[in-house]
Amino acid sequence: MHLHKNVDEQLLRDTLKSFVGKITQLPPVRSNVKRQYREREIYYADIIDIEDRDVLFKAGVESGTYIRKLVHDMGEKLGVGAHMSDLRRTKVSSLTEDSGLVTLQDLEDGMYFYRNENDPRLLSRSIQSIEVALDFLPKIFVSDTAVDTVCHGSPLAVPGVVKVNKFEKGQLIGMFTLKGELIALGSAELASDDILKGAKGIAIKTDSVIMSIGTYPRYIKKT
């Protein structure tokens, strides 16, 4: 944040803190969403460094928060005006800058080593499996015999469930194989506790299928 005039440091710190919690903001003129006031939550905002009128801070915010707008509004509240000079995302859900961040140059180099020197190491750590990004999702682990029917879009019934994380009815659930592969995303028709207690019927309604049909064999019921 670059302040347009000098500001008392304590006032600056207090003002930043006053934005933590629920705020309302109007999306900028040039934005891809409807321009109406909306509420967003600021989980934390901590100053890292202050150098004259330049303030480096780290904020944890709800999805859909405009940081440029947040900084602008901080400037208004301080009465001096401010604009955002730089912005960097350091985390999203369980992913951080230590989760295998690579540059475009790394991708280019990785391809070179892989194709010309038969060394897959750099490229291999650059391209990660989608499951890594889904750590935060509550999951349900599906029997090999039920995987293909889910791939066809069928809901998952309780007999196809082998293991569960804790979740409530209506929650977004990741459906995974026992090998930990993502099959599909769905919504819980039963709470995990009910499944563990032996409830019958549909456990998860399948919403979007990721795994291709035929990855696992089609299971035919013995008659």
């Binding site: 912005l87 985390k91 800058e97 991708l107 499996s129 935060f136 082998v162």
Partner: protein, 80 residues
């Protein structure tokens, strides 16, 4: 303090029944080949300042195209 709502989710696993998986099908995510990861993989890209996310994803697609990569998208827009 300094923590996001979904940052440190610990998803504890509870067994409904005992069942093994047949290794003849599928592939463990951490043992997939690069080619297998192309279909549903992701790159955590350290985007340089001053270029658009769209440009960065198009460049990534171009770099990876010899592997047969046909679609590249991005998520996590910071502005617009």
């Amino acid at each position: 303090m300094m923590e996001l709502p979904l940052e440190n989710v610990k998803n504890e696993v509870f067994s409904v029944k005992d069942e093994e998986t047949d290794v003849s099908y599928g592939a463990y995510p951490d043992k997939r080949s690069i080619e297998q990861r192309i279909d549903f993989g992701f790159v955590l890209l350290d985007k340089p300042r001053g270029i658009r996310s769209k440009t960065a994803s198009a460049t990534a697609k171009q770099i990876l195209s010899p592997l047969g990569v046909k679609k590249v998208g991005y998520s996590g827009t910071l502005e617009d």
